[in-house]
């Protein structure tokens, strides 16, 4: 079994912590290169042209600045983890629809393993369309995917 490159997809939230730990551990065990992908959804931008929306330019600039700021925070967190685990990683930020961006990154990067965190969804949110890891695994048919739950069994 050969695992040369691992892609960790994280949103930087607490439910991705265990996925991050797993990815770091796997990368050092397999001596594989680790790429950390953080996708920021830009769907908020589409509302700029609400019919009476005033101050659209300021709105778009504000959304951009906030998205970049949040991505920077995730990057700082990942850098800290890298130092703590004594491992190097390639951190990438993409802006767009999370599913499409992850698929595109996997296609371009040719990773052997994709690691994602799987939040436990309750009630109406448990529907498939909300569940990114499930949608991802159904689309990534030629790649191994590891869905790490947020808590120990």
């Amino acid at each position: 079994m050969d695992t040369d490159s691992i892609l960790l997809c994280t949103d930087g939230k607490s439910h991705s912590r265990r996925a991050e730990e797993w990815a770091f551990r796997l990368a050092s065990e397999f001596r594989a290169s680790l790429t950390v992908l953080h996708v920021r959804d830009i769907f908020l931008k589409q509302f700029y042209n609400e019919i009476y929306a005033q101050g659209r330019r300021e709105y778009l600039e504000h959304v951009d600045a906030e998205l970049v700021r949040e991505a920077e925070a995730v990057k700082a967190h990942i850098n800290k983890c890298c130092l703590a685990n004594d491992i190097s990683c390639d951190f990438r930020v993409r802006y767009g629809d999370p599913l499409n961006e992850i698929l595109d990154e996997v296609k371009k990067g040719g990773y052997d393993l994709v690691v994602v965190g799987g939040k436990k969804l309750r009630g109406i949110r448990a529907f498939r369309s909300w569940n990114l890891p499930v949608r991802l695994s159904s689309k990534l048919v030629d790649r191994s995917i590891l869905i790490v739950r947020e808590t120990e069994p």
């Binding site: 009476y52 929306a53 300021e58 959304v63």
Partner: protein
């Protein structure tokens, strides 16, 4: 030349496919609406003609005045004309048309919005169409301007005035209550600010105007926008039926919708759905309320003491109004002004063969294309992002506004809210 260049987006060809799609969708739906209306009228005529003929017989035998008989004969003539249009005769029934058109209120607005939502969320709208679909929505604006021919200044003073007082009380009341409660329960200022402005006036438009000022976080914005879209869409479909159940008059419904439905397009859609008088009142109150957007931004800046977040050019009353005022509404008031002058050559929406009469025939098409754009851009995925504190605040504010708004319009009564159009 530079003005013309400024007026045209550089990459305009990308808007064409989606725009054509909206035109086609609007064209098909308007024709379906037309066919339904035609058969519904014929169905009504088929039932009415025998009744009216019997009435004429009774009137004639009782020696009633000739004018009275002539008026009924005129009505019969109209009904016969409606029957002729579908090639039917008295006794024929088209109950399906009455069921769809009258009982289920399946009119062009409902068809475009529901149809658009179904298309967008099932088969989906291809990426190539998306920019054009977005550009079709603002076509509602020329439609609103053209509707200016329905009003005279006395309407603006009476309905717009009553509406303005009512909306000002509701807008600032909601904004104040929401912002105060959010502060009390330690909701971040960013979220409290956009929810206060968003639930107070014009929904997402107000969120966009205030988000940069209160430095709202993306997650909070997603929650707030999702919540407002969700409630707007719910109200749009629930209120017309609720209004009919509670037997609310047309003009009262227009005012009620203008208080309870935040999103302009959804408001116009609901009011247009309910009837022409409802739409007239709603559009006028809406015109009055959107002029309050700059003030709600100023109010938010004041409430959260955010002067340093606003650039120097946008500080102060005049600069805020200049940067946040919806310019197109000036066009609406120019037409109201022209209509108020009663210039004979311009006529009126009901005076045949005059310019305003012709303009009145056009507005529905602008609305139709705009509603096609709106329907096709309502994504259930965005509404699913509703959640968190924003959902609690949004649902509380929406319910309170709906109940209090209904009470307010019922107390005020129809007369003050009725648009006369100078007649």
């Amino acid at each position: 030349m530079s003005f013309i260049r400024q007026m045209v987006a550089e990459d305009w060809p990308k808007y064409i496919p989606g725009f054509l799609l909206c035109l086609f969708f609007a064209f098909v739906v308007m024709n379906i609406h037309h066919v339904l209306a035609k058969y519904h009228k014929a169905d009504v005529a088929s039932l009415a003609i025998p009744v009216l003929e019997q009435k004429i017989g009774e009137l004639k035998s009782s020696g009633a005045p000739v004018e009275k008989v002539a008026a009924i004969e005129q009505k019969i003539e109209k009904h016969r004309h409606a029957l002729e249009k579908v090639g039917g005769s008295v006794g024929d029934r088209w109950a399906w048309a009455t069921l769809l058109y009258q009982d289920l209120q399946f009119k062009y607005v409902a068809m475009l919005l529901i149809g658009g939502i179904i298309i967008r969320n099932t088969i989906g709208v291809s990426k190539i169409f998306l920019p054009g679909v977005g550009i079709a929505r603002p076509l509602i604006k020329p439609g609103i301007i053209i509707l200016g021919v329905h009003y005279v200044w006395s309407d603006v003073a009476k309905v717009g005035g009553a509406g303005l007082v009512l909306t000002a009380v509701f807008i600032f009341g909601t904004a104040l209550a929401v912002m105060y409660l959010c502060k009390k329960f330690n909701v971040p200022d960013g979220l409290g600010g956009i929810m206060g402005a968003g639930t107070g006036v014009c929904g997402v438009s107000a969120i966009i105007a205030t988000a940069p000022v209160v430095k709202a976080k993306p997650r909070d914005m997603a929650y707030a926008i999702g919540t407002i879209l969700l409630f707007g869409t719910l109200m749009l479909f629930v209120m017309p039926y609720l209004g009919q159940m509670l037997d609310v008059s047309q003009s009262q419904f227009g005012a009620w919708a203008a208080l309870a439905i935040l999103n302009t397009a959804q408001l116009i859609a609901a009011a247009e759905w309910y009837g022409e008088d409802a739409r007239n009142t709603a559009v006028l109150i809406n015109a009055a309320r959107i002029m309050l957007i700059p003030f709600i931004v100023m109010y938010t800046v004041w409430f959260y003491d955010l002067k340093e977040n606003v650039s120097k050019e946008q500080q102060g009353l005049w600069n805020t109004i200049k940067s946040k005022f919806p310019v197109f509404i000036i066009g609406f008031f120019i037409l109201v002004l022209l209509n108020s002058m009663h210039m004979p050559f311009l006529g009126g929406p009901k005076v045949a063969h005059t310019p305003f009469w012709a303009m009145n025939a056009v507005y529905k098409w602008f609305f139709a294309v705009g509603f096609a754009g709106i329907g096709l851009s309502i994504s259930i995925d965005d509404m699913k992002k509703a959640g968190g504190v924003a959902f609690l605040v949004g649902s509380g504010a929406a319910t309170a506004k709906m109940v209090l708004g209904l009470a307010a319009v019922l107390i005020i009564g129809s007369e003050l809210l009725k648009v006369t159009g100078g007649h």
